[in-house]
Symmetry: C2
Subunit: 674 residues, 2 copies
């Protein structure tokens, strides 16, 4: 047994808790079952082996992804898997393939916007994979601002058709997933014109490639948009329409009716906030996903730093790098945040589902806070996960830079989560506006929907000084160490940091009269503080579902404290500058910083069992460094011989060509000129 394998085994022996119990608590038994089922399929079919992905060109990746999609559709048709399993399979394969955006955007749009006849014509064949569609909104020159979109759909009364046109270069639809080489249909968002009148932006379904030979239909220019930082098994594409005609029927008509002859009407019982709900739904999925993605990064980094050795006492084995303070300081808080993210996402999902159920009944009362929370958490979770994965790569040292680390293609694939569905810097304003407006209403004693956010604001507004300062600012007379020991006080500090930033912004808006466009900079720290508070609040709730004597509790509690303290001490200027009676002094801050490091050290020995309990299989890690059995270097050596440049025959041939054409002429040229 190699030293590295022995080392990781010894780490596992240090566990104070049962790994399976923890897996069940964190992931839930339903997910674990689905994971096991998918894993079994992946292990049994060569087509799902992802080891060769790191050697592939873009075209090879698209082909491999398509091959897998085809097999997945077969498994569905054979009844061996359910539609719900598909995302779990691709989650373990750890990439998105060619049909990703059919499932994630085309089908959901049809579900929301088709009338009954259109469901039969479009949605049902799409669900049966008889048509493969994409959802085309973004244009080359236009992103988030949908009003800026240029593509037009003009009603032609004579033939009862719509004419789709791209009036300029910048109106070319761009970035459309599943469009580049795959899609048979596109659902495009276009500016609808009827009898010269601009009606608004609406979706139109357009057949784009011939069902005989897949060639573009007349008037259509379509192709792939080229290589990207990541996501290269998906064929993001572009499309341009030169006066393409489709039947009027192809305008999706749930939220609008266009009748023969050009009469436009809209159903009455449509609440404009319904679309608001869609954005919340998409962001909720990102939030849940980000925690799950971070599990991969942290598993690789913890396992590898536990076995990678550098320096140490002379004459002894070098010291595992995870034993160094500076490595612990970078990794353990990230492990704690991974637990916080996954823990909180259960509570968040419950809140989300409550809200969605109410919306279905026409009750939108919870939607505003859900929107604000989900904007904030989309921003916060994607930042933490993506730059967390970057930290994971960095602590792996040189080998982190190899594709075999599993962290590079992965980083590139999850990166766009900070950009899409609302750029992270833009989203902050949404959260800040809700907070400041709620505070303003409360200050004016207006009635405000009670929820986690407004309850906290109300508490600290402390009307009529009901609560003495000393009880309100629970931390004020405590030392840093005392604060760190009490989860409720930590939550109070995190909550009041939010309130303090809300007060500042409130003053700028309501006293100095600044507009929200002028407050985008100040909105950033507020959105961050709010998300940190919500994450701790929800994660704490999740922990409290365990019995008090649960053996899982002690370590989960330590992880809570590490997360909370990392947020509390993140910007100590925020602590020093709190209002009188609430602000902290140097000793308190120093005490908090010491406590933070103390808890990090306490968690060190549980790090390997804690990542084991997250249940990320080797198949998803696709990493030499993160291998469960610790045989890191053996795995690297094995992978290296699969490299195209090293392969027997094909590699020999390549190397011979390189030598004959370039190296040999250089070294065999005799001269002393230089």
């Amino acid at each position: 047994m190699s030293i590295t394998a022995k080392t990781i085994q010894a780490e596992r022996g240090k566990s104070f808790f049962d790994i399976n119990d923890m897996d069940t608590f964190m992931n839930g038994s339903e997910y674990i079952q689905r994971r096991q089922k998918s894993l079994k399929i992946i292990k049994s079919e060569k087509i799902f082996d992802q080891k060769d992905v790191y050697f592939m060109s873009r075209t090879e990746k698209i082909e491999k992804g398509l091959m897998q999609e085809k097999r997945v559709v077969e498994l569905l048709r054979e009844g061996k898997i359910e539609p719900k399993d598909v995302s779990v399979i691709f989650d373990i394969l750890d990439w998105s393939a060619a049909f990703e955006l059919t499932r994630a955007a085309f089908i959901p749009t049809l579900e929301q916007q088709c009338n009954d006849d259109q469901r039969v014509a479009f949605l049902e064949p799409a669900l049966r994979y008889e048509i493969i569609g994409c959802y085309a909104q973004t244009e080359l020159g236009h992103g988030s601002n949908v009003r800026g979109l240029e593509t037009t759909a003009t009603y032609i009364a004579d033939t009862d058709e719509l004419e789709i046109n791209s009036p300029s270069l910048t109106s070319t639809k761009w970035w459309i997933g599943t469009l580049g080489v795959v899609a048979t249909h596109a659902c495009i968002m276009a500016q609808l014109y009827v009898e010269g009148r601009h009606i608004g932006l609406f979706p139109v379904v357009i057949p784009i490639r011939s069902s005989d030979d897949h060639k573009p239909l007349p008037g259509i220019t379509v192709g792939d948009i080229g290589p990207k930082m990541g996501f290269n098994a998906v064929d993001n594409g572009f499309i341009n329409f030169n006066k393409v005609r489709v039947p009027r029927f192809n305008l999706l008509q749930k939220f609008i009716t266009l009748s023969k002859g050009g009469e436009v009407s809209r159903p009455k019982n449509i609440n404009p906030r319904a679309t608001y709900g869609t954005m919340v739904y998409i962001r909720a999925n990102i939030i849940r996903n980000m925690g799950r993605q971070l599990t991969k990064g942290i598993t690789i980094a913890i396992r590898y730093t536990a076995i990678r050795r550098q320096f140490g006492e002379p004459g002894q084995l070098e010291k595992p790098v995870l034993d160094y303070d500076i490595v612990q300081y970078r990794l353990i808080p990230l492990l704690a945040k991974t637990y916080a993210l996954i823990g909180m996402s259960h509570e968040f999902t419950a809140e989300y589902e409550k809200t969605a159920a109410l919306v279905k009944q026409g009750d939108f009362s919870k939607l505003k806070e859900m929107h604000a929370v989900s904007c904030g958490l989309k921003r916060w979770t994607s930042n933490v996960a993506i730059y967390g994965v970057d930290t994971c790569r960095h602590v792996c040292g040189g080998h982190g830079y190899s594709m075999f680390s599993g962290l590079n293609e992965f980083f590139a694939n999850i990166y766009p989560n900070i950009i899409w569905e609302g750029d992270n810097f833009v989203l902050a304003k949404q959260t800040a506006m809700y907070l400041v407006k709620s505070a303003h209403a409360l200050m004016n004693r207006e009635s405000v929907e009670p929820n986690s956010t407004t309850n906290m604001i109300r508490k600290f507004l402390n009307f009529d000084n009901m609560i003495p300062t000393h009880d309100l600012f629970t931390w004020s007379t405590k030392s840093g160490e005392e604060i760190s020991m009490d989860n409720n006080i930590l939550l109070d500090v995190l909550g009041f940091k939010v309130i303090s930033l809300v007060y500042s912004l409130h003053e700028l808006v309501y006293k100095k009269g600044l507009g929200w466009d002028e407050l985008s900079i100040q909105s950033q720290p507020l959105a961050t503080a709010h998300s940190e508070y919500i994450v701790c609040l929800y994660y704490n709730r999740k922990i409290e579902t365990l019995p008090l004597n649960s053996p899982l509790r002690p370590i989960l509690d330590i992880l809570f404290k590490i997360s909370a303290l990392s947020f509390v001490t993140r910007d100590t200027g925020e602590l020093y500058s709190l209002e009188k009676g609430a602000s902290m002094n140097r000793n308190q801050v120093a005490g908090l910083e010491e406590a933070y490091i103390k808890y990090i050290k306490l968690a060190r020995d549980q790090a390997v069992p804690l990542v084991d309990a997250l249940g990320v299989p080797d198949e998803k890690l696709n990493s030499s460094l993160g291998k469960y059995d610790g045989n890191v270097y053996e795995d690297m050596m094995e992978r290296v011989f699969q490299d195209p440049l090293n392969r027997v025959e094909s590699g020999d041939k390549t190397r011979k060509r390189l030598y004959d054409n370039y190296i040999s002429p250089i070294i065999h040229y005799k001269s002393s000129k230089i």
Copy 2:
């Protein structure tokens, strides 16, 4: 003319200074001449066109790089370029190719470690490219800790040879640039044993591939280590020795003599600090390079955000995103830091050259500070540049994620600068140790070499309270706005932030008795604060070389203030917690933050001219978004048709295969099962 081209032209019209004068001031006329000469060559030969790089597989990249290397060697042999031009050419081509590590590591090692006979045998043919070598130190299981290296070189007296051996899997040399498919020779670092005695780590030159057919010589297993995050035109390789014999002569013998029969001696006049000098030299190159690299990122981001439009007033053109506060807040300070980095690097280089000249004369007095400063600046400049490029990508929105942005392969290629030549987190300790030890010596009134760092420490130690507090803490009675207006006060604040952190660490070391291994966390903010101080100090010196009435001064001064204020306000906890008489209050901090935003806004209109003046040619940018002429979307559309998936014939064939094999069988399967 497109709107985007018009927009960028209008931006250029706002310039308050002469772009060529600024280029000359920042880059120096020698560099500009070399850049122009190289650019002319690059433009005139198709082989140097890098547009196809984004579509290439790893093997294709290596081949293209080799092709270019061959041409460069020809140009050298034809006398059309000098050796000094080579790095400028590859800097504009914006990648490292196959011979990179021959030039950057193999040849410098030979230059330092060969005796006279060895110069003739190894160095001269290497300079003539008749042998291509690599420098092999790192092993699969061993990185920075050279004592941990396992490869052995054992002297065999019988045959007067050295036997090179790799005793384990982990002893395999790994990550060695130019080794994977190219090198004919390796200079390896091995543990030297003579008559059973361990002598130490020494370099040995080993022929590794046959000069007839380039096949590995007997006993040698060699290959490429596979794909990496970036740097994929370089063939990083691995090599393993099974008792390979070379003549004793191949042990490089400048710092050791091994005579026939096994007598070992070392020359007497060798100062152990000489190797110290090599590390400083390599880090100094990284420091100079990081500023130059950031110019590419910032040029792309400023130009694209100036023409990219999003939202705005109804009925008007959308607003350029660079007009939004939150975009300015992320980009303008980065532009300011780019200027600070390049500006300071002239002063830094002057300091470095002074130190190197003294070292040559046997005077090591300046080496300690140079070592501390260069560790700190290597860490700081690489962090700023790499995560700065990431910010540049993020502000470009969705298109930043396309390879055509020019920012993705680039980010991946410069990324390892945070890891190699001392991991950034490890380097912090080197700087912190020097600072704390110098302060300790000064506190004990010991004599200490005067330099920028110790002068500042001495000033604030303020022996015998020579300076009244009020004059020492120049900022203490000033408002935030007043502080921001005086560059010397800003430098004082930055300097005292360093001192304050030095005091804290000094107490932990000399009063609480903590070891440096326990202070790695606390060393990070100190190293950061010190680099920020040095950068501002050196950049300010560079500005002060201009006449007072120079038209370049006003904008350079604004950029100085933006950099300094970004450092001052980076962690306001550091300002609140300064000692009594020095600490700042809420109003001062708020005033500094307001001033910071004010100066950012002042620089906004000069942003495009300022990046123009950095002189980065389109050939280096290799970016649709950063195009000088502003024709961004036209360029994207042009590039897209070069994509292998879209090409006429070859692309058609690929798409047909994908359709026939995967898409058609899926969509034409008729069933209603799912």
